[in-house]
């Protein structure tokens, strides 16, 4: 077995005790004692040792602060004092202090010192024990003295002082019991105390580990042995026992000192070790700190990278706490939602959410908080400025101890995407609506001719055709009638080859033949030709209208052809007899030579025959010319014409006509005219007519042809033919251009000519786009002006009518263009465009409409009329049906395809066979051709919302009354017709519609009452609501029964007595109002 420290120490204690027995025997048995000097020396040594030990113990106490050391220290200190005293008492070479010491004193001082020491050592253990008891089971020595140090010192000092006092003052007894074996029994007290202390410390167990307590136990055992085994036997102060006792005392002190030194050594060693450990620990700490610092740096860099990453992420990243407060939001988040970093502290996720998404977000959030991450949800948040932002996100929780403490979310901004989707959806809905709302059937097929998409119109059509609704994927035979499969296959193939085309089909649908126009459009995708889209438009009605119009057109053309034929035949048939008249007269003239003198009356007659025959011939020629111009068969042959050549040519040609008269025929210009683009033949004809006319009416003076040109450009503006002839009276001036309206019926006879020259000239001018006007002062001469501006060289705009006839000018001076009011709405609503190649039609109707306050524009050609209509602002257009170049029908065709004229009402005139059954897509009225009939005017008024003037029929047998009534009613702005009798009235009413009848009750052949009955009957036959108003005139006061009779018969009211009544017009006005409220008046076309 191996001996540990503990066993070795216990063995040492045992050996000490065993060794003490022989030492005691030897010491006690020694006969002689050493000298007193040696004893004194030993006493000094002991004192010094005690003092040193006390100092060491106290130092130990103050450094270790163990109460044990305090007691030991104070004990030794006091012992040192007592030993010192003992030494002084016992040593022979020192003077005895104080009192004279008896022989026995050293024995007592020895005992006092020993007793004192043993007591304090025991107390030191006791102090530990008390402390130990108080501390319970607490390990280790108490580091704090239980009592104040002062009290220990005080006790030591008191005891020391008491001892000194005692020795000094008390008479000492003999310290030895002489002769007894135990000669000093009192020695057993310190021995017991030492032993108890030794046992106490042994029990305490500190010896096992601490060198001090180990040595202390040695010292205590030595003390116990010293007193219990040696000095108890001492016989005298200086015997061997005492000497041994003193030796053992010193050894005991030495043990304590060694223990203290060992303790100090151990303490120092411990301290050193501790210091080393601390240094090592510090080093380790420093290393740890460095490691951490580095780790932190790495972490920081990592965090910075993460931050950078988060901030620069395009997605919105946020962290909230469990309540939804934003604790982190990256840059994209802040930028997208418009918040600053500083705003984040107060932001709450749920205060950002759009009301529409609040519920969704709450559900997601709650789910995440309960530990289930959510992704792919969509919410709408509101930006700082209130704008909604659609976000798609995924959210997950941050868990701590099984509880969600925060949420982490990544959002993606899908606003644009959502917007695009909404836009797409809207667009789709829109397209769908378009697709469905059109009445046209629309469908598409793929490359294999299989049905892809179709609208409901298609579905209905197919169902009607095949009895089965189409389905996507259907092949051609399933959706079209059996006979058409191949046709559709061919068409699809044609379209699939990349062609766009339209085709017309006819289908018998529900027993009705319908026409369809089909538009085939191939469509491609990135992969190439994908299929065909087909639009099918039901054009049945349009076809019908087209057919009607074609028929009407061809009828009109036939009629026109017939008219041309008639004109040619008439020409031929008129010429043939004229041939004989003129021819034979000429032959006879040869046999009647001019007599030398006197008169040959027969020759004169023959000359008259020839002259009139020639006149008749030129009449025929000019009428035919005029007819040709008016029928639009005359075409312009336009070329560059130099007036400097043309004008002299005309003048030269006519020079022969003035040779016999004192008339100077001349031409001039201030500015040399530049060539113009015109029809030279027709312009020449106009000039010949005008110059010839001027010559004809000028007996003397001059006829001047003047060309006026722009002084800068030389562009010819107008040509004037001025004469010094008889002139034209103002009131006749306005008629001068009308056919057969030469200034005076007598002029034809006097000056010759047909009276058609000016009419033809005007027609030719209009054909070329020129204006022509006349100014004249009777007796002084006339000036005819051809206005070249706005002619064939320039396109004709809206002011292109450029036509006037002088009737409006002051003193007959012409105004060349009518004023067109600015394009105000009112002016527009009253703007009428007349499109006709017929000059008379344009002129007469134009004048008439202008007098009625309309703004009139005219266009001689269909294409130009169309151009004008496209410019807009035309309320009503009167269109000639048949025109050269572009017919009225073609014009309307153009308009029907949406090329202008949407806001315009159309009156189509010149249709043969009346308006029955024709209805085009444009707003269209059909009116009779005849200008004299005011049907056109009435239609225009109807279309512009104007009330046409009331049309009256006066039935009055007395001619004077009739004409008087006629005149006065016309002055009151009524359109008046008058007939003398009832039958005539009925006859008239078969042809013309009237609003009110003014009836004299007593017409000769048909009594007024009978007429009223007949009218009512006629009205009923036409399906009318009854007779229109009849104003009855009587010359006698009307009797009551007459009034009753009249009321019963008709809606008329008697008016009387007599035509002088100034109330008649007002009465008629009221009657008209009443009549208009009814659907029908009187007349043929109810």
């Amino acid at each position: 077995m191996k001996w540990g420290t503990e066993e070795r120490r216990l063995l040492a204690y045992l050996l000490l005790l065993l060794a003490s027995v022989p030492v005691a025997f030897l010491g006690v048995g020694a006969a002689s004692a050493p000298s007193r000097e040696i004893l004194g020396l030993l006493g000094g040594v002991a004192t010094v040792l005690a003092l040193v030990t006390a100092v060491l113990a106290l130092v130990r106490f103050y450094t270790g602060r163990s109460a044990v050391f305090l007691y030991i220290g104070t004990g030794f200190l006091a012992t040192a004092f007592l030993d010192g005293y003992h030494t002084l008492v016992a040593a022979p070479f020192l003077p005895t202090p104080g009192i004279g010491a008896p022989e026995d004193l050293p024995a007592w001082t020895w005992l006092a010192s020993r007793l004192f020491l043993s007591l304090f050592l025991f107390m030191s253990w006791l102090a530990w024990y008390m402390d130990h008891r108080a501390m319970g089971e607490a390990e280790g020595p108490s580091t704090e003295p239980k009592e104040g140090q002062g009290s220990v010192y005080l006790t030591a000092a008191l005891l020391t002082a008491l001892t000194f006092g005692f020795f000094t003052l008390t008479p000492l007894t003999d310290p030895y019991i002489q002769g007894a074996r135990l000669s000093r029994p009192v020695e057993l007290i310190p021995a017991a105390l030492f032993l108890m202390a030794a046992l106490g410390y042994l029990w305490k167990g500190g010896w096992r580990t601490e060198p001090f307590e180990h040595w202390l136990i040695f010292a205590l055992l030595l003390g116990a042995v010293t007193h219990g085994g040696v000095t108890v036997f001492a016989q005298s102060t200086y015997d061997g026992a005492m000497f041994t006792g003193q030796m053992l005392q010193i050894a005991g002190y030495g043990c304590v000192m060694v223990g203290l030194l060992a303790s100090v050594f151990t303490a120092f060693k411990e301290q050193d070790r501790t210091a080393r450990v601390i240094t090592e620990t510090n080093d380790a700490l420093a290393r740890e700190v460095e490691t951490r610092r580095r780790a932190e740096q790495v972490l920081q860099e990592s965090e910075e990278r993460l931050q950078d990453f988060l901030d620069n992420a395009n997605d919105l990243i946020q962290i909230t706490d469990a309540e939804g407060r934003i604790t982190y939001a990256n840059q994209a988040w802040r930028r997208t939602l418009g918040y600053e970093k500083s705003d984040l502290e107060v932001l709450q996720l749920f205060s950002l959410v759009h009301p529409h998404s609040a519920e969704t977000l709450r559900e997601v959030f709650d789910s995440v908080l309960s530990g289930t991450p959510k992704s792919g949800f969509q919410v709408v948040l509101r930006r700082a400025d209130g704008e909604p932002v659609a976000l798609s996100g995924s959210m997950n929780p941050r868990m701590r101890n099984g509880e969600a403490v925060a949420t982490r979310t990544i959002f993606r901004n899908v606003t644009e995407q959502v917007r695009a989707e909404q836009e797409l959806a809207r667009s789709r809905a829109n397209l769908k609506a378009l697709f469905e709302s059109t009445g046209d059937a629309i469908w598409s097929v793929d490359q294999d001719h299989r049905l892809v998409t179709f609208n409901s119109a298609f579905s209905l059509t197919v169902e009607a055709l095949t009895g089965r609704a189409p389905r996507p994927g259907d092949g051609v035979p399933e959706i079209v009638a059996a006979g058409q499969v191949q046709w559709f296959r061919n068409s699809y193939d044609r379209a699939l080859a990349g062609n766009r085309f339209s085709a017309t089909r006819e289908e018998r649908l529900d027993g009705v033949l319908r026409s369809y126009e089909l538009f085939f459009h191939p469509y491609e995708t990135v992969e190439g030709m994908a299929g065909v889209v087909v639009f099918s438009k039901d054009v049945t009605r349009r076809r019908q209208v087209e057919i009607e119009l074609r028929r009407a057109k061809s009828e009109a053309e036939e009629a026109n052809e017939a008219k041309s034929h008639f004109m040619a035949s008439m020409s031929h048939e008129l010429r043939t007899p004229l041939n004989s008249v003129i021819g034979f007269a000429n032959i006879l003239l040869k046999s009647h030579p001019k007599p030398e003198e006197g008169r040959d009356r027969e020759r004169e007659f023959l000359e008259r025959i020839v002259a009139n025959g020639n006149h008749l011939l030129s009449l025929i020629n000019q009428i035919l010319d005029l007819a040709k111009i008016e029928s639009g068969k005359l075409e312009l042959e336009v070329e560059q014409v130099d007036l400097r050549e043309l004008v002299p040519l005309v003048v030269r040609q006519l020079e022969g006509q003035v040779q016999e008269r004192p008339v100077e025929l001349r031409y001039h210009w201030d500015v040399a005219p530049q060539p113009i683009t015109t029809d030279p033949g027709k312009l020449r004809q106009v000039l010949i007519n005008l110059v010839g006319n001027a010559i004809k009416f000028t007996e003397e003076g001059s006829v001047t042809v003047e060309v006026e040109s722009d002084p800068e450009t030389g562009t010819p503006r107008r040509i004037r033919v001025q004469d010094t002839g008889i002139g034209i009276a103002g009131q006749r001036l306005e008629k001068i251009f009308e056919a057969f309206r030469q200034a005076d019926g007598s002029t034809t006879r006097r000056f010759g000519g047909t009276g058609l020259g000016l009419t033809i000239s005007r027609s030719l001018c209009h054909l070329m786009g020129y204006g022509i006007s006349v100014a004249s002062v009777e007796g002084e001469g006339s000036t005819f002006t051809v206005d070249l501006e706005g002619g064939t060289t320039q396109p004709r705009g809206r002011n292109g009518r450029g036509v006037s006839y002088g009737r409006r000018g002051h003193e007959g001076l012409s105004t060349s263009a009518a004023e067109v009011p600015d394009g105000s709405a009112e002016a527009e609503s009253r703007t009428v465009l007349l499109i006709s190649h017929r000059v008379e039609f344009r002129h007469i109707l134009g004048e008439y409409l202008e007098d009625l306050g309309y703004v009139v524009e005219t266009e001689p050609r269909g294409d130009e009329g169309l151009e004008r209509l496209r410019q807009g602002g035309i309320a009503t257009a009167v269109v000639e049906f048949l025109m050269p170049e572009m017919s009225g029908w073609e014009l309307l065709e153009h308009l029907r395809w949406g090329e202008g004229g949407e806001a315009t009402r159309f009156l189509l005139t010149g249709l043969p066979g009346g308006p029955a059954g024709v209805d085009a897509a444009v707003q269209l009225d059909l009116v009779p051709h005849d200008v004299e009939d005011d049907a056109i005017l009435r239609a225009i008024r109807r279309n512009t919302g104007d009330q046409p003037p009331g049309r009256l029929l006066v039935v009055e047998h007395d001619q004077h009354s009739r004409s008087e009534l006629h005149r006065s009613l016309r002055e009151a702005d009524f359109v008046v017709h008058s007939v003398p009798s009832g039958p005539a009235a009925l006859e008239f009413l078969r042809r013309v519609e009237v609003d009110v009848i003014v009836l004299d009750l007593r017409t000769p052949s048909l009594e007024g009452f009978e007429l009223v009955d007949a009218l009512a009957e006629a009205s009923r036959e036409r399906g009318g609501m009854g007779a229109g108003p009849i104003v009855v005139l009587t010359r006698e006061p009307t009797s009551d029964d007459l009034r009753v009779r009249l009321r019963r018969m008709a809606a008329g009211r008697p008016e009387g007595p007599g035509i002088e009544s100034s109330q008649l017009p007002q009465s008629l006005g009221r009657a008209l109002e009443a009549g208009r409220a009814k659907p029908s008046g009187y007349g043929p076309s109810g």
Partner: protein
């Protein structure tokens, strides 16, 4: 004296032309186309004055047949007609008439000049 064939259904007109040309030319009159064609073949004239509006066969048809007949093809034919609408002249000359004169004959010299011109040219 040259022979002129006049084909004209109107007796008045035949008389008038006869009166104008009397003494200058020998006139052979025909009333209808077929009659004239038959006569012309047996009695070839030096010039033909041909009315257009003839009953039955009209003047243009008569002209066509004259031109088809080898013996008659070279005979000058002048249209003498009341078809005097503008454009008629061009139309008739195009059909192969050598000249075109309109009725009524206002100035007989026109007729005489035209005849003389055709006859001189042919001789």
């Amino acid at each position: 004296m040259n022979t002129i064939a006049l084909i004209e259904d109107n007796a008045d007109n035949r008389l008038l032309v006869q009166a104008i040309l009397e003494g200058l030319y020998e006139i052979v009159e025909y009333e209808t186309g077929p009659e004239a064609l038959a006569g012309l073949r047996s009695n070839r004239p030096d010039l033909v004055l041909l009315d257009i509006s003839l009953p039955g066969m009209d003047g243009t048809e008569v002209l066509r047949r004259i031109r088809e007949d080898i013996n008659l093809a070279q005979v000058p034919v002048i249209a003498l007609t009341a078809h005097a609408m503008s454009g008629d002249r061009e139309r008739f000359l195009e059909q192969g008439f050598d000249d075109y004169l309109t009725k009524p004959i206002v100035d007989e010299s026109v007729l005489l000049d035209a005849i003389a011109k055709r006859l001189v040219t042919d001789e």
